[in-house]
């Protein structure tokens, strides 16, 4: 486990998501409507689609391809077609920079 800088807090609008690739892995970084940051695996557990192309509504990220939904704060799969939860990662913001504990 190590804290890695992912992006600047300004890079992601509130209620939106961005892709972050590091060391051969891909993550999705979320900026929630109440200003908090979260991170999950970047690929949907259903068909390996990049979640960062999907839509964030409140605390839900929706896969851009097949509409699988997850709560990005907990990684919980919210029903068909997804049944496997996403891994989540700790996030901290320091001096306007977003760090992920990979």
């Amino acid at each position: 486990m190590a804290w890695i800088r992912a992006c600047s807090a300004d890079d992601i609008d509130e209620e939106d998501v961005a892709r972050f690739d590091h060391d051969g892995r891909t993550f999705a970084i979320y900026h929630s409507p109440d200003g908090e940051f979260f991170a999950t695996d970047g690929l949907c557990t259903h068909e390996q689609i990049h979640l960062a192309d999907g839509l964030v509504l409140d605390n839900i990220i929706e896969c851009p391809k097949h509409n699988g939904r997850f709560d990005y704060r907990t990684g919980e799969a919210k029903g068909a077609p997804v049944c496997v939860d996403l891994n989540t990662y700790k996030v901290k913001v320091e001096d306007g920079e977003v760090f992920v504990d990979v």
Partner: protein, 418 residues
């Protein structure tokens, strides 16, 4: 699995009260079975499928199952998902008769299943092309796993594929076949690709891409016959082919419903709750023409997501939920690295607004008084997905968005709160 007793003994479940029988183990029927359990129903559920396979996802069959030689299909609800939920799966059998008065179906192996509620999720079959030679050994259609395996085996460098029909299955297969180095010709009767439901500009992007990838497109073609050498067209042209793939649409499987006297209307006719003309029988998915309150008429959709949504809704309504259909039609197609997504139905649109999105674009189709009816997008990867999803939400609300904003606002989400 134990077989049922002699005909006439009633339910397979013996003295147990008749439960739910679902005919068709595709996306729709399987989702319905799972949804019955998700809704808390713990009585008998039997899922009857004509194929021998555990229910699997079909969208990859024209895509990665061909291009990437995907070894195993992805099962719906997990490999043991049905058994874990106490759903009785009857593979490799069909329903040969439906006795509505007795509320019993008879399977091809002689089993009689009594039902309290019956869901017909019988799907659709490829539309037949009535030309000589179409029954030849070099002609294929794509519907199931065996079809995909057979098509895959016939493709590769030095092989020639003729696709009859410039629709989604044909174009996705054409793209997959090119990935494998196959020589591909697409033969379309109309002057352009995807004339049913896809705007000309979007279809034009896909046509240009296919040509850039080396696919030969023939428009306005009339087929005389299929021979061992390929496809003979009017005008004396023959398209040489080792395999001829026919993808000219699908026909709803209504025979069982028709024989039982249920109402038919370009599919098994159901109301906005997915109930047929018999209140104990529901129909959903490709086989069903349902009354969509948003359009005020019956429509029939052949798409993966609507199969899921309708299966789930039918399950809830069979349990008494009384929920009307509300989902906006939505579908997607992948060809090369391009993805097309469409939400809504564009017919009746008066104006079109174009919104550039990265290397792609979205067209918004506006109807009378500026109501948003549909949105069609195409671009690399999932570039247009967010905007199409937001458009879908606007369509569901009956929104009349400002056309200027649709074209230019940086984040379409702003229009949701407008």
């Amino acid at each position: 699995m134990s077989e049922a007793g002699p005909a006439g003994t009633g339910s397979e479940a013996g003295s147990e009260a008749p439960g739910f029988v679902i005919v068709g183990a595709g996306e729709c029927g399987t989702r319905a079975a799972l949804a019955l359990r998700e809704a808390g129903y713990d009585g008998p559920v039997t899922l009857v499928g004509t194929e021998i396979h555990t229910p699997y996802e079909r969208p990859p069959l024209s895509k990665d199952a061909i291009a990437a030689d995907m070894p195993e299909p992805k099962t719906i609800g997990g490999a043991d998902g049905l058994a874990e939920r106490g759903i009785v799966f009857r593979p490799g059998v069909t329903v040969v008769s439906l006795d509505r008065a007795a509320q019993v179906v008879v399977l091809s192996d002689g089993t009689r299943l009594a039902y309290h509620r019956l869901l017909l999720a019988t799907g659709a079959r490829p539309r037949a092309l009535p030309v000589p030679g179409i029954d030849g050994p070099n002609v294929a259609t794509l519907r199931g796993l065996e079809d995909a395996a057979r098509i895959r085996a016939a493709l590769g460098p030095g092989r020639r594929l003729a696709v009859i029909g410039g629709g989604f299955i044909g174009l996705e297969l054409a793209a997959s076949a090119r990935r494998l180095g196959t020589e591909v010709t697409v033969i379309e009767a109309l002057p352009r690709l995807l004339s049913r439901g896809v705007p000309e500009e979007v279809a034009g992007i896909l046509a240009a891409r296919h040509e850039a990838e080396g696919v030969r497109l023939i428009f306005g073609a009339r087929i005389v016959e299929v021979t061992g050498d390929g496809v003979a067209l009017e005008g004396g042209i023959t398209v040489p082919a080792d395999l001829v793939l026919v993808g000219i649409g699908a026909v709803p499987e209504t025979a069982l419903a028709e024989a039982a006297g249920l109402a038919i209307d370009n599919g098994i006719a159901v109301d906005d709750r997915l109930a047929t003309s018999d209140p104990a029988i529901f129909a959903a998915g490709d086989c069903a023409a349902f009354l969509h309150p948003g359009y005020g008429r019956r429509i029939r959709l052949e798409s993966w997501r609507s199969a899921q949504e309708q299966g789930t809704l039918a399950a809830r309504n069979m349990l008494g939920a009384e929920q009307p259909v509300s989902a906006v039609p939505w579908f997607w197609s992948d060809q090369y690295d391009l993805t097309l997504q469409i939400a809504g139905l564009a017919e009746g649109s008066i104006t079109t607004v174009r919104r550039p999105v990265g290397e792609g674009f979205v067209l918004f189709h506006l109807g009378p008084e500026g109501r948003l009816l549909a949105a069609s997008g195409v671009g690399p990867g999932n570039a247009v997905a967010k905007d199409i999803r937001l458009a879908e939400m606007l369509i569901a609300r009956g929104a009349h968005p400002d056309p200027e904003a649709l074209a230019t606002v940086p984040n379409l989400k702003k229009l949701l709160s407008a």
